[in-house]
């Protein structure tokens, strides 16, 4: 049984904010137990922990999954779970990579990516795997349904209800799209400027 449950909505480009949130919760003594759609975080009460949470997006075929997790395990990362094809990892901040020998090792150790080229590659994977289907759904279903509902809207209360429903969906879609667009743009700028 979880000691604490919180709801947070982090969209596709907001994984760094999500990591920060999980790190902060660990510092307050809440260790992530699990996260489920659409964004319910369950925590177990612990002593305050200096824990680093990282989220990767690199969906794997079944036969490659073990190798993917092993790579992170070699570097001291504990694999927690997947949600919405994102993979969650954590590592205590004071535990070094098993062969770490200098202070320098500690800082690169805290991230799962060591250069911005590979961070940009990750964004490309998210855009291709997640944003593209989202856009296709939008253009192929939401827009046509909305336009259809406008014509039916004049046909009594049932038509009006449908129109209201599709208007809500449309507004929600646009809101999510704009937030994702701004988020990805900001990430891209940040990674490119650091190169």
């Amino acid at each position: 049984m979880a000691d604490k449950k919180e709801f947070h909505l982090f969209l596709l480009p907001e994984y760094e904010e999500e990591e920060k949130y999980l790190n902060k919760m660990a510092k307050k003594g809440y260790r992530l137990e699990k996260v489920t759609l659409p964004g319910i975080y369950s925590f177990t009460k612990t002593e305050p922990e200096d824990m680093i949470y990282r989220i990767d997006f690199n969906p794997q075929k079944k036969e490659d999954l073990a190798g993917y997790h092993q790579m992170f395990a070699d570097y001291g990362w504990e694999y927690l779970q997947d949600m919405n094809e994102y993979s969650y990892f954590r590592k205590p901040a004071d535990v070094r990579d098993k062969d770490a020998d200098s202070d320098h090792d500690i800082c690169w150790n805290e991230d799962i990516y060591s250069d911005n080229d590979s961070r940009l590659d990750m964004i490309k994977r998210i855009l291709k795997t997640k944003m593209l289907p989202f856009m296709i759904l939008f253009l192929g279903i939401v827009i046509p349904q909305f336009v259809g509902a406008i014509f039916h809207g004049s046909m009594g209360p049932a038509g009006r209800t449908i129109l209201i429903m599709w208007t809500v969906v449309l507004v929600l879609y646009i809101y999510i799209f704009v937030r994702c667009y701004v988020g990805f743009k900001r990430l891209k700028k940040k990674y490119e400027s650091e190169m």
């Binding site: 690199n58 790579m71 992170f72 062969d99 799962i112 250069d115 590979s118």
Partner: protein, 107 residues
């Protein structure tokens, strides 16, 4: 070598270069990371997400090939295409170095 390979790998990231360089011998990801750290006195380090992503990309593009699996770790080795990309990079870096020392590079 096709245009895509040239566009993506010439010039190459430091991480990419070291991974390809190390794979002149059979190795798995974590081994490569250790060797690069040793070679560069910890100046270049490669994190797991970067390592995994770069290896997958290079395998897909045919620069390296999967040899076998050992305790869930994939062991890779450079291919002929990988060797020619590495050679191009080596020449480019040598020229860069010579020019930076105020020399003119011939050939």
């Amino acid at each position: 070598m096709d245009a895509h390979i040239r566009k993506v790998y010439v010039p190459m990231t430091e991480t990419g270069f070291y991974i390809l360089f190390c794979l002149q011998e059979e190795m798995h990801g974590y081994n490569i990371g250790q060797k690069v750290k040793e070679m560069t006195g910890s100046a270049v380090t490669i994190s797991p997400g970067t390592m995994y992503g770069t290896l997958s990309k290079m395998e897909k593009d045919g620069l390296i090939s999967f040899v076998r699996e050992e305790e869930k770790r994939k062991i890779y080795m450079i291919t002929e295409l990988g060797r020619s990309v590495l050679e191009l990079e080596r020449k480019r870096i040598a020229r860069l170095y010579q020019n930076s020392m105020g020399e003119v590079c011939h050939g």
